[in-house]
Amino acid sequence: MTDKKQSILAVLTKPPYGGTTAKEALDAVLTAAAFEVPVSVLFMDDAVFQLLPEQKTEGIEVKCLATTLPVLPMYDVEHIYVDRKALVDRGIDAEQLILSVQPVETDTLRSLFQNHSRILSF
């Protein structure tokens, strides 16, 4: 790995349990962080459902993603953004999420893409 690290933007769009992408995205983000590669996370579309509190997955026999997501700050992943429109469209209150996130408006969302040359799309 080169010395000068390129910061990554991980764009998440999938809900937590119907597929495996949400978990695989989290694994990739944690790996980047473990290697001290700066990584920002952006929740868009149904990925914002990953952040809902009170997820209880015993009934579907799947590991609970909401248990692991709060580990992000421990991994020094500090820039966690969420598309405000995606929250509003789904009637989700940004204050009640399992993780402290920064809701962004469309302009900021666009500049996030422009400011990263390394994008991981999930």
Binding site: T2, I8, T20, T21, A28, T31, A32, L120, S121
Partner: protein, 135 residues
């Protein structure tokens, strides 16, 4: 237009024969090479790891995607990595891992390597462009 050669890493997420992902990625990779670019790595993640099973049998009148990747990989010495965590869960395993997990067989096809997500993160750092082919 003949741009200066650059390096690509290709990320593939869709299962072969379930989505177009693996074959669109193949065409892109081959074209990039033919245009003089360098492929740093091809990384198969999610259901795309199924490309690495030696046990896949394809009807003669359909495209053998694994064979195509193997041929391209051999011709251009491609680093074709299959995510180990995603692979093990889906029954793609090499002989070392078969021993570690006490399985009685292994099935990783020639030309592919099982390795960790670190290879994906390295790809973001060591190539000029990342192109993702989702499912």
């Amino acid at each position: 237009m003949s741009p200066t050669p650059i390096s690509f890493s290709i990320l593939v997420y869709g299962a072969p024969y379930s989505s177009q992902s693996v074959s669109t990625a193949y065409r892109f990779t081959k074209t990039a090479i033919e245009k003089g670019h360098r492929i740093h790595r091809v990384f198969f993640y999610g259901d795309a790891v199924q490309i690495g099973s030696r046990l896949v049998a394809v009807p003669q009148d359909e495209v053998d995607l694994q064979l195509k990747w193997q041929q391209l990989g051999e011709q251009y010495q491609l680093d074709m990595v299959i995510c180990i965590a995603a692979a093990l869960k889906r029954g793609i395993i090499n002989s070392d891992e078969a021993k570690r997990f006490e399985k009685d067989a292994s099935n990783l096809a020639e030309g592919f390597t099982l390795s960790g997500l670190g290879q994906m993160i390295d790809a973001t750092q060591s190539s000029d462009r990342i192109v993702t082919f989702g499912y």
